[in-house]
């Protein structure tokens, strides 16, 4: 019955998210009242397009925007939700050609190269570097600039030509969530840290009289594949993962890559891993964990708070740990995932300052800490981390500290920083499709990854033909 409830609930959320588009107009009409004493000039509108349309994250963003608007009567930040990063990007590109682009857009890590390369009809870049626009100021419109304080894992990933190009916002890593009640019943005290450890734990769990349907699950998403490469210290693309020069070759069939997919496939064959059957099925995988159909879940740390709370609600203890790695290779480091806020190019000075001030306000220590607590995305600045420590948050909820710890434990190499790659979104899809083929149709791992490699390489070649 719990499962049924969970699914009904997730659809209520979905339905609410769908209807939230219509809420915008009412919010927009309600907000400007505060600005009536600001003089006769109407406030400068800062449009922010985000890719979150679920209630929790959208409302969080709208609340921060309202606070900013109250503090800065000359400005009005208007938040518009879209259903995906791709839609935001596509709509932005079209809006730029129409001459009425949003000021701030929310875009994800894998498409960083695409965003950097995109140009408008006049041939100008679509986005402008936030560091360049901040021009060394320590505060903008009274909001302290936090760009320099961003944690190193995010700074490393998003640094282009020596400085942050976009403002990091939601940043996470892949962590493992364990149902400690099941693990304890199987005589395991600590969540496993290596592949061998996972297999051992799964054997013990399978031997339980009331064993769950399967031992472990995680969504079929290219990001996990990239994480495994980072752990093994193997680049996904040439030219130092595209960091020293534009990447021209991609490598989906390196030994480390094959090892990971083979392990994944073996784990599925033995019945320990369960595939929900759908690509990028975040909801399905976490539902399997919440309903105790699996004992372990490798997931994005973005949902740490929700998963931990849901576990408590369903009566089991959740512990978060590092993503398991291949014990036969030296561990190098896990990488980040998530998205940043990009500022569109060609804004007038007042809009640009407003956009910059809002972005820095949005990630100031208090807001960054609140965002972390609400979701599980890592605290994005060092000051926010310090604030949370003083508050005693990490002692109170140790699960929330794991993602940051994992990222801090990573060596600073191109492999563990993550690839900068054109057409990365489509290349990820090639990886996901190949892995699905392997899991569902039991095709040969090496052969399938070789053909995925050819496909991905031709996507990259196409991209570089257009942009290189």
């Amino acid at each position: 019955m719990k499962k049924l409830l969970a699914i009904l609930l997730s659809f209520t959320v979905l339905a609410a998210a769908c209807s939230s588009d219509s809420d915008d107009s009412s919010d927009a009409t309600a907000a400007p009242d505060d600005t009536s004493d600001a003089g006769d000039a109407s406030p400068i509108e800062i449009e922010m397009w985000i890719a979150f349309n679920d209630d929790a994250r959208l409302n969080y963003t709208k609340e921060r925007a309202a606070e900013f608007n109250e503090k800065h009567p000359d400005y009005e930040v208007v938040v518009t939700p879209f259903d995906s990063y791709n839609t935001v990007f596509e709509q932005t590109t079209l809006a730029i050609d129409d001459g009425n682009p949003p000021e701030v857009i929310h875009f994800f890590e894998a498409a960083t190269q695409d965003a950097l390369d995109a140009i408008d009809a006049n041939g100008d870049p679509i986005f402008k570097s936030v560091t360049a626009a901040a021009a060394g100021r320590s505060e903008i419109l009274g909001e302290p600039v936090v760009l320099d304080d961003v944690v190193s894992a995010a700074t490393n990933y998003y640094t282009i030509d020596g400085s942050l190009f976009s403002m990091p916002w939601n940043t996470s890593s892949t962590t493992m969530f364990s149902n400690m009640d099941i693990l304890a019943a199987a005589g395991i005290d600590e969540p496993p840290t290596t592949w061998a450890g996972v297999e051992e734990a799964c054997d013990a769990i399978a031997a339980l009289p009331d064993a769950p349907d399967n031992c472990i699950s995680w969504p079929n998403h290219g990001w996990f594949f990239e994480q495994a490469l980072g752990q093994a210290g193997v680049d996904l693309a040439n030219n130092d993962n595209g960091r020293s020069a534009r990447a021209t070759e991609v490598a989906l069939n390196s030994d480390a890559a094959i090892d990971y997919v083979q392990w994944w496939s073996d784990l599925e064959d033995s019945g320990d891993y369960v595939y929900t059957g759908t690509q990028r099925d975040w909801a399905g995988s976490s539902a399997a964990f919440n309903s105790q159909n699996v004992a372990m879940l490798v997931f994005s740390s973005s949902d740490t708070t929700v998963i931990t709370d849901d576990g408590a609600e369903n009566g089991f203890d959740v512990r978060t740990s590092f993503m398991p790695y291949n014990q036969e290779r030296d561990y190098v480091g896990n990488l980040i995932g998530g998205a940043t806020l990009w500022m569109t190019n060609g804004l007038d000075e007042a809009s640009e300052d407003g956009a910059l001030a809002f972005m820095n306000f949005f990630s100031n220590p208090e807001n960054a800490a609140l965002w972390h607590k609400t979701t599980g995305y890592i605290p994005i600045t060092n000051e926010a981390t310090a604030l949370l420590e003083t508050e005693g948050w990490f002692a109170e909820s140790p699960n929330s500290a794991v993602a940051s710890e994992q990222l801090n434990a990573a060596a600073n190499t191109p492999a563990s920083t993550g690839a900068l790659l054109g057409n990365f979104v489509a290349i990820r899809d090639v990886v996901t499709a190949a892995i699905e083929d392997i899991l569902v149709n039991d095709v040969d791992v090496t052969e399938r990854m070789n053909s995925a490699q050819d496909e991905a390489q031709s996507l990259l070649d196409d991209y570089n033909e257009l942009f290189g």
Partner: protein, 448 residues
């Protein structure tokens, strides 16, 4: 070399499609064929026969040239015969406009403008995009000639040419045999029975011309044929059956009808969500019932290709059923009661009355439904699939329209997306033309 072959074929096609009663006709037909082929090949910059073009592109170039030769030939013939019919017929006389010649065009202009800006220009843009490599916000555009199309096809040009031609040859041969054989002979009956299977043969031949390697288009084609034809056949048969059942006088018939028509008001994505909630294995209603009450594991449709296709078909049929029912109910009311009564008095049983009177009377409506259902099953299933399976498992429910959006929108590859929409466009055109040809003379719209 390629150009010469293409033009020779084009002139032959031109002659065939234009007609060859006199020497003048033959010359004109050949000229039209060559003109048609040259126009389109010149528009492509003769790239299909360039030295760096693949041989499959050359085959496509010849095919495109032949198609345009046929359009030019048959089109001109249609215009000519229209003109001569106007002049020749005695009983219908064309009137003369009392207004200036531009008046009709002026009155038509709102419609024409809408058509041009919302239909023809986008269609033209799709055609031009399909020969390019491009994305949103690019500094350059890559020329791709027909390789966006040829990469969907097998690499062997000879098989590519032979398969569809063989299928067409067999269909044509059977038709010829049927016409030449004595009515009443076994050959006549045999060919009459196997003739309708020509389309199956052709669909099968097309299946083999698509690329089969990983990510090849053959699977997409297979999914589209299976899912679309199942949706259309099941929803039409079931719609007619339910309409027949709810047509009679049963107590509370209005309530039944209203309830049956209800699902039509639900949009395809919502239908997808509803069926997901019912059939999802990790928490759907049926899974919970099966698990808690009967204690068996509900199969996960997302891991089984057949089940996944079945669930997409089920959801779409459920959604379409109300629509078909509505039209069949309206159609049934037009079936003359006298004919049915007369047949009943003559001793025809219920099935015979249904088969010989009701079904033919429903012909025009069934034909209309066939076209609308096909359009639905080709284009509107996207929403259902996206919420139900997202093309899973391993692409088993990824139909043509789903793949177009995945490639063109999600991956941002506008050229390949456009090429696939052209393929879908051609398929729908071909199917509609085939249906019109099949139904010619068979469907009676009532006596004139």
């Amino acid at each position: 070399m390629g150009i010469v072959i293409s033009l020779v074929i084009a002139s032959a096609i031109g002659v065939i499609s234009f007609g060859h009663e006199t020497k003048r006709d033959v010359a004109l037909g050949a000229a039209l064929g060559v003109l048609g082929a040259s126009v389109i090949l010149a528009a492509l910059g003769f790239c299909t026969f360039a030295s760096d073009a693949e041989s499959t592109e050359g085959v496509l170039g010849v095919a495109v040239g032949a198609t345009f030769a046929w359009i030019f030939g048959a089109g001109t013939r249609a215009v000519f015969s229209q003109k001569s019919a106007d002049l020749g017929s005695g009983d219908i006389r064309t009137g003369t406009f009392k207004l200036a010649g531009y008046w009709p065009w002026l009155l038509l202009s709102p419609t024409l403008l809408v058509l041009i800006f919302f239909l023809y220009l986008p269609a033209y843009r799709t055609f031009t995009l399909s020969t390019k490599l491009t994305r949103l916000g690019t500094p350059r555009v890559g020329e791709r000639c027909l390789s966006n199309f040829s990469e969907l096809l097998i690499t062997s040009p000879s098989v590519l040419v032979m398969l569809p031609l063989t299928a067409v040859g067999i269909i044509w041969g059977v038709g010829l045999w049927h016409r030449r054989s004595e009515p009443g002979s076994w050959a006549h009956d045999f060919t009459r029975i196997i003739r309708p299977f020509g389309i199956v043969l052709f669909v099968f031949a097309i299946y083999f011309i698509f690329e089969n390697e990983n990510g090849g288009y053959r699977q997409i084609y297979f999914n589209t044929v299976i899912i679309s034809s199942s949706i259309v056949i099941i929803s039409m048969v079931l719609g007619l059956a339910l309409a027949y059942l709810t047509f009679g006088n049963v107590r509370g018939i209005t309530a039944y009808r209203t309830l049956l028509i209800w699902p039509y008001a639900i949009s395809p994505p919502v239908a997808g969500i509803l069926f997901f909630m019912m059939f999802n294995a990790t928490g759907g209603i049926f899974a919970a019932v099966a698990d808690n009450w009967f204690g068996f594991d509900f199969p996960n449709y997302a891991q089984n290709a057949t089940l996944a296709r079945g669930i997409v078909i089920l959801a779409s049929v459920w959604k379409l059923l109300g629509y078909n029912l509505l039209f069949f109910l309206a159609g049934l009311q037009t079936v003359p009661r006298e004919q049915i009564e007369a047949a009943a008095i003559d001793g025809a049983n219920a099935f015979q009355r249904f088969r010989k009177i009701v079904v033919p009377a429903l012909g025009p409506i069934a034909f209309f439904l066939l076209i609308t259902n096909l359009t639905f099953s080709f284009f509107d299933v996207y929403g259902t699939i996206d919420f139900l399976t997202k093309g899973a498992p391993a692409g088993a429910t990824s139909v043509s329209i789903y793949e177009i959006i995945r490639v063109g929108v999600d991956n941002g590859d506008l050229g390949r997306g456009a090429a696939q929409s052209v393929v879908l466009f051609l398929a729908v055109i071909a199917l509609t033309a085939w249906q019109f040809k099949q139904s010619e003379g068979r469907i009676s719209y009532g006596s004139a």
